[in-house]
């Protein structure tokens, strides 16, 4: 059974159960959601074990479950699982522990799965909107908090705006291609003159929508506000899974559907990548709110991944630059999922009855109040900065390797210098945590779910960093979009 369907069933089930259970038993919703995610993972595994090489298609050739999609499905489910673990205690403290929260998480994952597996523009758009609307509500879940409401409103309005632009671009491609399937669009574009004004406008508007979702500059403005205002457990979730889904969508559309236009979009991507890295790294240097700081750091990470995309766009298909760029983006999303979720999990645990916990000063002296969490947070920060042997280094490794292999030495140097900037603001958090005296010395109570979340992500970060071989093999396996012969080159 399709995991999408299965997740929807669980979501509806939770909605119903939530009506019936009393307040103290709300954690049953969390358990139900977690079980749902596990079942979905089981479904994905079943599909994977019987997957034909050309992938499974469905819904009149609009859904393509190939290895690429399966990789991303696992990623979404992992992100959702950790987010669910993270949320229980936090929502209790915020007094907003409703079942709808878990329903929305499950439905947004369903939407993400459509985005990752969609081969038809309409299905991708449906998935995008399903994910987006669920996340809009999730961001505004703290009904009584003004920041949360404001964040949700801004996110929704800007999101609707960019979705509209995206829909406009996709509709132009429909007009040019005569159909909405990405394969049809690809065939139509290979016959087109890339500098045809209609094509250019279609391409740019589509890219606007895509870049908005991954929060690249200059379409990033929603991200700091949304990340800061949202409930912290939601911030963790949207920073990893929404980003992964948006990248999946971007890769599907740009590598499959619009690949013949790469001579047009690659220069644009270069400018966007440089602007993203520059703006995000500089802006993060003086932030004092940890959630905002991590928002800008997410944008910076997107900048690095865009560099890998540039390497792909300027390399021949099947060349080391192309493959390593592709691998770089996929691996980066994998390690990024775990390390970012871990960092947000630690920040979530700071939320107490009287302390919001998202300022840098709130982290002061964490080594005393929660030594294990402080040590693991240090691990996440080191990983985010890209220092071996933590997992984050693996992502940076592939990205810089692909840049060198495709000959972009200047971009590589720039990227490398910016990652040193990155270390500075991560160290600001570490400084506060480990080197400043605590403001209160009481032990920080950390719930079981949160401890699991932090533990799992920390374990993943260390294991992927020290023994990445199975994960690299997994990425190699999933490299390629079936039905797109030029992208289906797979390294053993």
């Amino acid at each position: 059974m399709l995991p999408i369907v299965e997740l929807a069933i669980f979501a509806l089930g939770i909605l119903l159960i939530d009506l019936m259970i009393p307040r103290e038993w709300k954690w049953i919703n969390a358990v139900g959601a977690f079980v749902g995610v596990l079942f979905a993972a089981l479904c994905v595994w079943q599909i994977q074990s019987t997957l034909p090489p050309r992938g499974l298609t469905g819904f009149y050739n609009s859904l393509l479950v190939d290895r690429f999609a399966i990789y991303f499905w696992y990623l979404f489910l992992a992100g959702a699982a950790v987010a669910i673990l993270n949320s229980g205690h936090y929502l209790d403290v915020e007094d907003e522990h409703h079942g709808e929260y878990y329903v929305l998480i499950l439905l947004s994952v369903a939407g993400m799965m459509c985005m990752a597996a969609g081969i038809d523009v309409v299905l991708i758009f449906i998935g995008l909107e399903l994910m987006a609307i669920s996340t809009y509500v999730l961001v505004g879940f703290l009904r009584r908090d003004r920041r949360s409401n404001e964040a949700a409103l801004k996110y929704m309005l800007l999101g609707a705006f960019s979705s509209g632009i995206l829909a406009y671009g996709l509709s132009l491609f429909y007009g040019l291609a005569g159909g909405t399937n990405l394969g049809q669009i690809a065939r139509a574009m290979s016959g087109q003159n890339p500098h045809n004004p209609v094509v250019v406008i279609a391409l740019l508007t589509t890219m606007t929508g895509l870049l908005f979702k991954i929060a690249a500059i200059p379409f990033h403005q929603w991200a700091p506000d949304a990340y800061e205002g949202a409930p912290t457990s939601v911030t963790g979730f949207i920073s990893v899974s929404v980003k992964a889904a948006s990248w999946a969508m971007l890769l599907r559309i740009l590598l499959y559907g619009l690949w013949p236009l790469r001579s047009v979009y690659t220069p644009v991507m270069v400018v966007v990548a440089i602007a993203t890295m520059t703006g995000a790294n500089f802006a993060a240097l003086t932030q004092s709110n940890t959630k905002r700081l991590l928002a800008y750091s997410s944008i910076a990470h997107v900048g690095y991944m865009l560099l890998a995309f540039v390497a792909m766009g300027t390399s021949q298909v099947g060349s080391p630059g192309f493959l390593d760029g592709f691998k770089g983006i996929l691996i980066y999303l994998l390690v990024y999922t775990f390390m970012n979720l871990g960092a947000f999990a630690v920040i979530t645990s700071l939320r107490q009855r009287n302390v919001i916990g998202d300022e840098l000063d709130d982290m002061a002296g964490l080594y005393r109040r929660a030594p294990v969490e402080a040590a693991l947070m240090l691990l996440f920060l080191i990983s985010l900065a890209g220092i071996p042997p933590a997992a984050g280094f693996l992502g940076k490794y592939y990205i810089f390797l692909s840049l060198i292999e495709s000959g972009h030495y200047g971009l590589a140097s720039l990227g490398v210098i910016y990652s040193v900037f990155g270390l500075y603001y991560y160290l600001r958090i570490a400084n506060a945590m480990l080197m400043r005296a605590p403001m209160e010395t009481a032990r920080l109570p950390v719930s079981l779910g949160m401890r699991c979340a932090v533990g799992v992500t920390a374990l993943a970060t260390i294991v992927i960093g020290v023994y990445p071989e199975p994960f690299i093999r997994g990425v190699n396996w999933s490299l390629g979009i079936a039905q797109a012969p030029h992208v289906a080159a797979v390294v053993k």
Binding site: L153, K154, L157, L158, F161, S162, I165, H195, P197, V200, I201, L204, T205, T208, F212, P218, F219, Q221, W222, P224, D225, V264, V268, G279, F282, A283, A284, L285, T286, Q287, F421
Partner: protein, 140 residues
């Protein structure tokens, strides 16, 4: 013991030798040793200069200045976030339209439009004497 005014040749030699050694001792103390001390003072002065140079030029200009500049640049970068959603949307649209014009090589129209919009906004602000994002005096 030789007394009296009659100095023998030997004693004259002796006095000359004493005078010579006194001259050498004077030379040694006043000239050579002063030179050595002078070299020492010069070395110390150069050393102090090097220490100053190390602190202010190599460390200050080379290391701390870029760091401070980076932090300073951070503030204007953040000032682009006014929290006004309309501004965000405007930035997005401007970027989109600007890139489209750039790729289609119609930059002239783009700059003309921007100029027209800017002039229009300024004129509007001046005519109605209203500045956005400033608290109106009605709400004290």
């Amino acid at each position: 013991m030789v007394e009296g005014r009659q100095h023998s040749a030997l004693s004259r030699l002796g006095y000359m030798f004493l005078a010579l050694s006194e001259a050498a001792s004077w030379f040694d103390a006043k000239v050579i040793d002063r030179t050595v001390n002078g070299v020492c003072s010069i070395t110390r002065a150069v050393a102090t200069l090097s220490k100053w140079c190390d602190k202010w030029i190599i460390d200050g200009l080379g290391v701390n200045a870029p760091a401070t500049i980076a932090r300073l640049i951070s503030y204007p970068m953040r000032s682009s976030e006014w929290g006004l959603m309309q501004w965000y949307a405007l930035v997005m649209v401007t970027a989109l339209v600007g890139t489209a014009c750039c790729l289609l090589e119609v930059m002239r129209w783009f700059w003309l439009t921007i100029a027209a919009l800017a002039i229009g906004t300024i004129a509007y602000m001046l005519l109605t004497r209203r500045v956005p994002a400033k608290a109106s005096s009605k709400y004290k």
